[in-house]
Amino acid sequence: MNVLRATNLTKQFGKFTALDGVDLEVNKGEVFGFIGPNGAGKSTTIRILLGILNATEGRAEIFGKDVWGDAVEIHKRVAYVPGDINLWPNLTGGEVIDFFLNLRGSGNRNRREELISRFNLDPAKKCRTYSKGNRQKVALIAAFSSDADLYILDEPTSGLDPLMESIFQECVIQAKNEGKSVLLSSHILSEVEKLCDRVGIIREGKMIETGTLKELRHLTRTNFVVETKEPIVSLNELKGVHGIQKADQAVSFQVDTEELDNVLKFITSYGIIRLESAPPTLEDLFMRHYEGTSRTLESGAGGAL
């Protein structure tokens, strides 16, 4: 069952096309990672989902309601944390949290206190004096002490220290365990890798990949470090082998998933002394997608080295 579904979202700012037919689905109880390079259109998509921007084309629904027309109804069950937060300089953090909870009409007092102490925030300070991380804590506390069913988080941790970052992750996992859904946009890929069930990659306003991490890995390459008795000849002529680098006795390279079988059969014939393999990290995936697309455009697909 999906909580959020967007089809063919397109957004034009004047002549500039920020989003070009984005499809997105977030299921109940799922943490969805939304990644992509700067300016790809993540925040724009999120603002459309929040009914703050009106899409030029396409449809988006949350809880089966239209994000633009029923924004107020939807927002009673949605919590949003932006990455770049400015608060009202002459109010205290505590006042702002209460105001947010009050507007939403629901919210859990005990949870508010608990989160304030977990995030180690001084709620009596004026927002003017908060550091970036502290401002973010205010928004996070307000979001996680509400009884939302969907959390929309746009780079919520860009200013948090590692300790706070791990508390944030606990909050997300707890929300997920309670059957709530999360849309998390982030540049911290280790965070996405750890928290997200499914990931979508957006680039220049288009969703270029969506799926579970496992599915995405399938589309990419595995890293190998191999040491053989005899030097492997003409490795670079094999189909699906990339990024060959010699280091002392060993050689490291990446192999396209679909060619794994052939390549492994080929190298075993040289007598393997040592073989290390690692699944691609999200970072590899990500890098490949960013650079990959522009390179493929230039040199045609799949060229080795």
């Binding site: 603002r47 107020v72 507007l103």
Partner: protein
């Protein structure tokens, strides 16, 4: 539909909480000034003869241009004096209050991303604008009631209940009109600076149109919202209908603001942003270039504004001249300085006022440095090999240059329009000297701004207060017969009034000395203090 306005009430209370000091300070200062003035009018002019004497001095186009038409001049009671000499001035301040409050809760919140957070909560698309309009309308209604009942409660004979309520209503209606206008500009403009700029430009135009209209062509005055406020003829004829006109227009403007707000994207103005340069021009390679570039639009707008102000005042010089010829006896009465025409005397007054208006953009340039620091942008500059003196120096040089340009444009406009409408024009050299002699006073305010920014940046807003004080002393000082020492506290009070007075080099030199002293103190402080961002 009701979804569009969801939770506007809660937002209003939240805004009220943010303004819990700001709004009372506005209300208290505005009503205090009003009550004190009313009381002092009664003290100053004890009997009919004294009141009629002052009424005669008010009967000239120069005065009309400054403060508006005198409706009750034949029976110049304390009430008539209030509506003639105080209403316009107070209405302008009320308009400024509304402009600042509306911008603060609309475009400024949007610019800083606060509106986005509110919109992500269950609040309607138009709630923020609605709550701002509620808040500012409420403030203006409260002001109208306080001043209305307060004026009546003073127990001054000529200030009856109806007139007093209308006096308050005229102020409140002006505030509400400019609230609605600013609400529209907050949709059109992309920044809070732009919103404030456009609103102030209209306020300035409203004043000038009314000035030209009141002197020459009464129909013209009805094109100015300030003309409507004065058209109520408070305490004289008590017309209520101009209030209805103002409220009617305010409602239309509010509807337009709602429509525009519903139509546009959050964060953007009405026009899509255009791509700009991909490389910095040669100019933008130094702190001075940066200081100029980020304030370019504002400086150009002010320059145009100063010229318009000069031209507007110049255009009434002709009326003044012919008025003077018609009533020669009068001329002798109000013209104690032998050998100078009323026009020339009026020019000295104009020069003082125009110089104080020129000081606004000039001071804004220095205070911009602090604004940049507040927004954590000076640290980008200081992370390079740039000394603090160089940065502050850039702003200083820019502001001194701009002070000269602003004065020049105002003088030139005054002279050009004046020569066109007068039979015997005043020579450019005389006007030039009369205007430029105010530069040392402007320099003192620049020095004060530099000193505050350098030494106690938190209090740099006090420089504005000093300018407002100077303005009040010059504008109201003669009417209310302020003591001499109050005049002496303002640098503008020490400037020789050319052409009527001789050039007084000692005073001018002392002022320049003070300006230099303040500036040096500012530089020393700025080099020593912490930069916060």
């Amino acid at each position: 539909m009701s979804q569009l306005f969801k939770n506007a009430g809660k937002l209003t209370r939240f805004q009220l909480r943010q303004d819990r000091f700001r709004i009372p300070v506005w209300l208290i200062s505005l009503s205090a000034v009003t009550f004190v003035t009313a009381i002092s009018f009664v003290d100053l002019y004890q009997n009919d003869a004294e009141r009629q004497a002052i009424a005669e001095t008010m009967r000239n186009p120069a005065m009309t241009a400054m403060v508006g038409q005198g409706y009750g001049l034949d029976n110049y009671t304390a009430g008539a004096m209030m509506s003639h000499q105080m209403l316009l001035f107070t209405a302008i301040i009320v308009a400024i209050m509304s402009i600042l409050l509306v911008t603060r809760h609309t475009r400024a919140d949007e610019e800083d991303g606060r509106t986005e957070i509110i919109r992500s909560l269950p609040s309607g698309r138009l709630s923020n604008l609605t709550s701002t309009i509620l808040l500012v309308s409420f403030t203006n209604v409260l002001l109208a009631l306080i001043i209305g009942f307060g004026n009546y409660a003073l127990g001054i004979e000529s200030m009856d209940l109806e007139g007093s309520m209308l006096y308050g209503a005229a102020l409140g209606a002006t505030g509400i009109f400019f609230m609605a206008l600013t609400a529209v500009f907050a949709q059109v403009s992309e920044s809070s600076r732009g919103t404030i700029g456009l609103s102030f430009a209209v306020l300035g135009l409203a004043y000038l149109i009314r000035a030209i209209g009141d002197v020459g062509n009464e129909t013209l005055s009805w094109f100015s919202p300030l003309g409507w406020a004065l058209g109520a003829e408070v305490y004289v004829n008590n017309y209520w209908w101009p209030m209805l006109v103002m409220l009617g227009f305010s409602i239309l403007l509010c509807l337009l603001a709602f429509y525009l707000n519903a139509m546009r994207d959050l964060g953007s103005g009405l026009l899509p942003s255009r791509p700009g340069r991909t490389h910095a021009s040669l100019f933008l390679r130094s702190p001075f270039g940066l200081a100029l570039r980020i304030q370019r639009t504002a400086i150009i707008a002010w320059a145009a504004g100063m010229f318009v102000i000069g031209v507007s005042y110049g255009s009434i010089l002709g009326d003044l001249e012919s008025f003077m010829e018609e009533i020669e006896i009068m001329e002798q009465m109000v013209n104690p300085v032998e050998g100078y025409s009323l026009t020339e005397q009026f020019i000295t007054m104009l020069m003082a006022i125009m110089s104080m208006i020129s000081t606004i953009p000039v001071m804004m340039i220095i205070l911009k440095l602090k604004g940049e620091e507040n927004k954590n942008r000076t640290e980008h500059v200081y992370s390079h090999a740039v000394s603090r003196s160089r940065v502050l120096g850039s702003y200083l040089i820019l502001s001194v240059a701009v002070s000269f340009i602003m004065q020049f444009l105002a003088i030139f406009g005054l002279w050009a329009a004046g020569s066109a409408v007068m039979d015997e024009g005043i020579s450019f050299a005389v006007m030039f000297n009369a205007g430029m002699v105010y530069l040392p006073a402007i320099f003192v305010l620049i020095g004060a701004a530099v000193c505050f920014v350098g030494v106690i940046p938190k209090l740099s807003g006090l420089t504005w207060l000093y300018l407002i004080y100077s303005f009040m002393v010059v504008y109201l000082g003669d009417l209310l017969q302020f003591p001499e020492w109050m005049n002496n506290l303002s640098p503008f009070g020490h400037i020789p009034q050319i052409p009527v007075e001789e050039v007084d080099f000692i005073h001018v030199t002392i002022l320049i000395g003070i300006a230099i002293g303040l500036t040096v103190a500012g530089f020393i402080g700025y080099n020593r203090r912490d930069i916060t961002g």
